[in-house]
Symmetry: C2
Subunit: 217 residues, 2 copies
């Protein structure tokens, strides 16, 4: 079996692990699976050949023995179902893990991206400063609800699962904003995840790609 | 087996099928499963008892013989895995359907919600009109990519799947905007889905709840 994922040839986040290949790398490391990486330029991501496997021209795409997949959430779901290691073996435990996977991607990430994207796209607009309190408040609402659920748990549901994996990658986008620190149990939750050996291997590997791209620039 | 979902006591969309219980009702109808509905006021959705089953105070939550689930994507995934009827039986077909489920919720819906929410939250702000072209362009990018993939297919992958179900509920948010009509294959795609008997039963049932709430108001 050969697994191949795609990633940015030159990561816009300069190797801080925010690109979505990090999620899949981490899941593959948790599952103990070797994989290859195909690096793409921004131009290559929009070419017809790539759009045939990733219709929205994003990274990562995933290939495994004739199966072509896209969307980091679906890729991680497949890894867990096919290879294990990402949630409890029982049906209910898996279902609860998937609830947190979707919560990370469809309830928590959207307001965080709405908060983050204006920094790149609307920084010079007259309304930029005036809108930020609104965007802050939407992020805080989700963080507050998440923090309340987490309480003094180590992970969202018993043992670590792909729900934690996705939630932590989403929360890490707020690093340096000061928002996470408003909820005292969230920074230690993220730190616990970052201390996992699988996380550290995945992080080192995506950083190595970026460092190499800098050397050859 | 008893299935119970939660829904708005009084839907903010006045029964147009935009609330997320519509997605789960439709999936349950496709799978041929009877279910009960527990209606909640906005105040009830934020009470501790409900937050224990839906940590973000949203609808729908789902209960089935001791399994409590939340997030419409995860609920639909569970329905398909446990009861069938929402994607092909083979592993690859299911994986491809889940790719479109996540694409609907994490790639297509976020720019559509970013486009929709200012209509409610920022309509009276000085920047409202000036920002709309930016929001339009982000929606158009995703619609263009989706339209390109769809081409002359009836559904995103061979037969109808939960990927189509979620994608159509996401696209329907743009009804009346004029944006869908820029891509000639998208309105017929939505119409095909709306013509499915399962869709029509689900739509009628959620509309009946709203009509009843109006009568008793």
């Amino acid at each position: 079996m050969t697994i191949t994922i795609t990633a940015f040839e030159r990561s816009p986040d300069r190797g801080r692990g925010m690109a979505r290949d990090m999620r899949v790398r981490w899941a593959l490391e948790e599952a103990g699976l070797p994989y290859q990486v195909r690096l793409l330029s921004f131009a290559q991501m929009k070419q017809p050949g790539y759009l045939a496997s990733q219709p929205f021209g994003q990274i990562p795409a995933y290939e495994e023995d004739g199966l072509a997949l896209f969307e980091s959430g679906a890729i991680i779901l497949h890894i867990g179902d096919r290879h294990g290691g990402l949630w409890p073996a029982d049906l209910h435990g898996r279902a609860r893990a998937t609830a947190w996977m979707f919560a990370a991607l469809n309830t928590v990430e959207p307001p965080i991206l709405e908060w983050e994207m204006p920094k790149y796209l609307e920084r010079n607009e007259s309304w930029y400063e005036a809108r930020m309190p609104l965007l802050d408040s939407r992020v805080k609402q989700r963080l507050s609800e998440l923090s309340h659920w987490l309480g003094d748990r180590d992970w969202l549901e018993g043992d670590f699962s792909a729900g934690d994996l996705l939630m932590v990658t989403v929360l890490r986008r707020l690093t340096g904003s000061g928002l996470l620190e408003l909820y005292p149990n969230l920074p230690p939750y993220i730190a616990r995840a970052e201390q996992r050996p699988a996380y550290q291997r995945a992080f080192a590997d995506q950083l190595a790609v970026f460092n190499k791209s800098e050397q050859t620039a």
